[in-house]
């Protein structure tokens, strides 16, 4: 009765059922293959370290890494902070630098895209700054801001700032003239045309920029925390190197990877919520 294939003739319904079942089986098999391949990889890795093919000073066994991870949840040794502290420090740094980049970069890009004069005023400077890799700013930042949190946040800011500006700018520039004309004939002022049309039209591209910026910010973190630091994930892996502890390095690296993925995921959730009007074709 409640079967959703009841409307189909019996023969067709059966063949569809068979096909659906076959597809399910196939995807289960594919999943199994993936799991097996990862398992074999981890096993070979573990095996190679255990029997000494690989020097454990160079690469720790997977089980060791898991043990170190569990240990680092509560033990600040050997490098001086529990994992939670490192995460909090790094997150704080990224949120300040990245947050500032979004809050300043997006409106700046939007307005540059909309107001021609403003564009001509700002873009020469922007074009010069834009191709300089964020890491190249480290020496100057140290001279200007020392080696504290501010300097690190500043470098992260620079890394995130450029894509925020460029994408917002492009989004506004691409606004179709007909949309602007609709607003104009509906009685909108220049500012209202920006606010009701261009800003909204640009939103999907703004989010692309904000996503790229997040990636940049997070990956610049390690470089920024290689400036003198007493905590942070970048600091953690740096110390791992000095202490010759590959397990610490790898725990730090994996944490950076996982948190980066989580942040990207959260941002894309927000994006889907804000630009849910976008038609995907």
């Amino acid at each position: 009765m409640s079967n959703n294939t009841t409307k189909l003739p019996d023969g067709v319904a059966d063949s569809i059922k068979i096909e659906v079942a076959a597809r399910k089986k196939e995807s289960r098999q594919l999943l199994l293959i993936s799991i097996i391949s990862v398992a074999i990889f981890l096993f070979l890795w573990e095996f190679a370290v255990r029997i000494g093919w690989i020097d454990s000073k160079h690469l720790s066994a997977p089980t060791t890494i898991v043990e170190t991870f569990i240990m680092k949840l509560s033990d600040p040794n050997p490098e001086g902070g529990v994992l939670g502290t490192h995460i909090a420090t790094s997150l704080g740094l990224v949120l300040v630098g990245y947050g500032a980049a979004v809050v300043i970069g997006v409106p700046l890009g939007l307005l540059m895209g909309y107001y021609h004069t403003f564009d001509k005023l700002v873009s020469p400077i922007f074009e010069i700054v834009r191709p300089i890799p964020p890491i190249a700013w480290i020496p100057l930042s140290i001279i200007w801001l020392g080696i504290g949190t501010t300097a690190k946040a500043f470098i992260i800011f620079l890394a995130a700032f450029v894509p925020c500006v460029i994408n917002s700018y492009t989004g506004v520039k691409l606004t179709p003239a007909v949309y602007l004309n609709v607003a104009k004939t509906s009685g909108a002022s220049t500012w209202e045309m920006f606010w009701t049309v261009s800003k909204n039209y640009a939103m999907p591209l703004v989010f692309t920029g904000v996503q790229v910026a997040l990636g940049n910010a997070w990956s610049t973190l390690v470089a920024a925390e290689m400036l003198a630091a007493i905590a942070g994930l970048g600091y953690m892996i740096q110390q791992g190197r000095l202490l010759a502890r590959p397990d610490i390095i790898i725990v730090g690296m994996l944490t950076i990877g996982v948190i980066g993925a989580i942040l990207t995921f959260l941002l894309s959730k927000l994006e889907n919520h804000i630009v849910k009007w976008r038609s995907r074709s």
């Binding site: 609709v182 004939t185 509906s186 009685g187 909108a188 039209y201």
Partner: protein, 250 residues
């Protein structure tokens, strides 16, 4: 038209040229037209002849290089514009799209919602108030455009090939609809098309424009009673007469 004709919009010898680095391109050339109050005027012209430019000048989106546009017998120069390309904001719901002109005027939400609701029902979109444009068909989007054009109660409606992008079936349906809407909410309509059949079906009066630069070539009064029938002999006769007299490179 039986009643005395009152001029609502007067186009006085308007021309428009676009100047680029080296060349001057004439799009509209010395056009003089009187548009009468509450008439359904159709401007019929070949593709790329300057029809959109002409409407843009009436709406104030562009200023004529020469001549002037005058609104007579009304203190408002507000126009409602239905655009050639579907121009419904994809990030706004049907309701938000329709109420936009009133929102921009600062009309309180409750009041503008009431007006928008009336118009949404008028154009046959009841039940779609909160739909996003991506959920609508092409014809429904143009209905939104029509409702929005009516929203701040302009005396003049400009329609730039509003059904040009629709399939034939939907197009016939929308032609019927636009007349129903116009009968119910009488306004002065300037409707642009390159389709003779559409022109004869809709118009009180047809002004045929020449190839670029647009000039007025011919004026036809269409006094066929409505609803008109595409295959009525009289309809076909008028249609053929216009066809024989005009060169619409379609």
């Amino acid at each position: 038209m039986d009643e005395q004709r009152v001029v609502q919009v007067h186009l006085e010898n308007i021309s428009k040229s676009f100047v680029s680095r080296k060349t001057i391109f004439e799009a509209v050339n010395h056009v003089t037209i009187d548009v009468y109050k509450n008439e359904f005027l159709v401007l019929l012209g070949p593709g790329q002849c300057g029809k959109t430019v002409l409407l843009n000048m009436v709406s104030g989106l562009e200023t004529p290089t020469d001549g002037k546009v005058e609104f007579l017998n009304s203190d408002s120069t507000d126009v409602g514009f239905v655009f050639q390309k579907t121009a419904v904001f994809p990030w706004k719901t049907v309701m938000e799209n329709v109420e936009l002109p009133l929102e921009l005027k600062g009309v309180p939400k409750e009041e503008r919602r009431k007006r928008a609701q009336y118009l949404i029902e008028l154009v046959g979109l009841k039940g779609f108030e909160n739909a996003l444009p991506k959920q609508l068909s092409g014809g429904m989007k143009q209905r939104v455009g029509i409702a929005r054009a009516y929203c701040n109660n302009p005396q003049v409606l400009l329609m730039d090939e509003p059904f040009g992008a629709l399939d034939a079936q939907t197009r016939y349906q929308m032609e019927e609809e636009i007349l129903r809407i116009w009968e119910q909410e009488k306004r002065t309509v300037i409707f642009v098309t390159n389709n003779i059949e559409e022109a004869v079906y809709l118009a009180d009066r047809i002004i045929v424009l020449s190839k670029c630069p647009a000039t007025v070539k011919e004026v036809y009064d269409i006094s066929l009673p409505r609803p008109r029938d595409y295959v009525d002999p009289e309809f076909l006769r008028i249609r053929e007469a216009i066809e024989a007299n005009t060169d619409l490179a379609l």
